[in-house]
């Protein structure tokens, strides 16, 4: 809270106007529309709209497709988070041991952050291309017949790998910062107490890293749920047979391709509630942002 303040009354509103107008027109209004549309249904020809109460939601809850999407989203988010954070932690620990080469390795590891999810999808799609990709060729040597166009498992693995790959650099940077902020004297004290490197990691480093880990857990789940649209659209488009149809993709698909506005809006509302929960969780953790 500032002690010195300017006393103008009109000026702050002028300063806030651009932000508030954009927020209202492109955020609040559409969100309100989504809520409104979630209570409406259009007839088959799009000529009449009627109020149907919670029917869209009831329909969603009875829809096996929607449950499938929930399940797919959960598997996808957990796999991406675990794979990406695991790799990143391993690399961060290795770099943290380095003295001279920290910077070089960091540079070599951070750049995938800059690759768009859609482009990441295209790259891995090419590598795993069943006819000419190198990975199916390698896998065939060990007797695995890779085909993400027909196999649900392969398709899921493809989008998980592509999404996790892009997120490694982000997790790596935060893990490295977390590791470097642990005072060296703590590890030295543990070494004097007779703990070897592995023991030191589990007894000292990992517990002290838990705020970073928790923060990254939330960020990665949010990433997997919302920012991976490009990966899915560039590779599997939700298929085969709905195997990679995560919730965000389904909202888009039902709304734009399927033209089922009511259902898409109801799904939007469910997603908003999910983001709300995730944001609250995140802000309980980094509280200072909310207090003003």
């Amino acid at each position: 809270m500032k002690r010195t303040i300017f006393s103008n009354q009109l000026l702050p509103w002028l300063l806030l106007a651009p932000q508030l107008i954009i927020t209202f027109v492109f955020f609040l209004w559409p969100a309100a529309q989504a809520v409104r549309q979630s209570f409406l249904r259009e007839d088959a020809f799009g000529t009449r709209t009627s109020f149907v109460g919670l029917e869209n939601f009831a329909y969603l809850l009875q829809s096996p497709e929607y449950f499938n999407s929930l399940k797919v989203t959960a598997i996808f988010a957990v796999s991406v988070t675990v794979l990406s954070m695991g790799m990143a932690l391993l690399l961060a620990i290795a770099v943290d041991r380095m003295i001279r080469s920290t910077r070089v390795y960091t540079t070599l590891l951070v750049w995938p952050y800059a690759v768009a999810p859609a482009v990441a999808g295209i790259l891995w799609w090419f590598i795993f291309n069943p006819t000419i990709g190198i990975m199916p060729y390698v896998l065939a040597q060990v007797g695995y017949d890779w085909n993400h166009i027909s196999s649900k498992t392969d398709a899921m693995m493809l989008v998980v790998i592509a999404s996790a790959w892009k997120q490694i650099s982000y997790n790596f940077l935060f893990f490295l910062a977390g590791l470097q902020s642990i005072p060296g004297s703590l590890r030295e004290a543990a070494a004097i107490d007779g703990a070897g490197p592995v023991r030191r990691f589990f007894d000292i480093t990992f517990p002290l890293l838990s705020p970073t880990t928790f923060f990254l857990l939330v960020v990665n789940i949010v990433y997997a749920m919302f920012d991976t649209f490009g990966v899915i659209d560039a590779t599997t488009e939700g298929g085969p047979a709905q195997a990679t149809n995560i919730m965000v993709y389904k909202v888009y698909f039902d709304g734009f391709i399927g033209q089922n506005i009511g259902s898409s809006a109801a799904q939007s509302v469910v997603l908003m509630i999910l983001v709300l929960i995730l944001t609250v969780v995140q802000f309980r953790f980094v509280e200072k942002k909310v207090a003003y």
Binding site: W111, Y113, G133
Partner: protein, 282 residues
Amino acid sequence: MIENRPGLNLLAHATLILGVCIVALPVWVAFVASTHGPTDFMSGTIPMWPGPHLVENYSQMLGAGVSTSGTPPVGTMMFNSLIMALSIAIGKIAISILSAFAVVYFRFPFRGLAFWCIFVTLMLPVEVRIVPTFQVVADLGLLNSYAGLSIPLIASATATFLFRQVFLTIPDELTEAARIDGAGPMKFFRDILLPLSRTNIAALFVILFIYGWNQYLWPLLITTSSDYYTIVAGIKRMADAVDGLPQWHLVMATAMLAMLPPVAVVVGMQRLFVKGLVETEK
């Protein structure tokens, strides 16, 4: 390091080299593919070493594109991406720094409400309100325009919070000295706050440029005219179109060009990039 264990160091280096290879693998494969001619993909697997067609492939994509895919030359798409990324980065910084200034340095009725309006944007990523937002932009006649590509994406609670944190660390006495020195609010903003926030602005710019360049869903929806295609959204259309006769070398050349500017920004401005990344999340 506490005790000298050569074995562990070796293991660490091995892990890192393997990690760097995994991270680099898809880009290497794409690069190699982009240097070959169309016939090299007919026979079985993709080659692992660069071919002789680098200049040819890239100049074809930059200048002419693939006529059958309905996408414009990559040069045009890159230009559109650049306009979008710059508009989003500059727009976000401008409106966020102004609103942070208002929230921190003024007391006015409904200040709390204004703050919550900004805050709530955090909870509404474009992906969850995609259909009604598209309708609003269509109603405003902003489809197929640079304004439509950028303006709906420039409201940002994160950037506002970042500037708010920066302003809160600037001592009150500095503001008081400026007031006694005869600086009104806007003069104070221009002469004191802006120069003192310079590095934060630069760091944020790096992050937001990447964010803007990498937008996918939004440009995909609101650009139907190929004149406004951005490269990240256009590449998918191109890949779809060439699926029939696989011109992989051209798709991968486009992918390389789509990655080049943001990767160059990250590598070239690594210090600012890390600062921006850590600060926007704090």
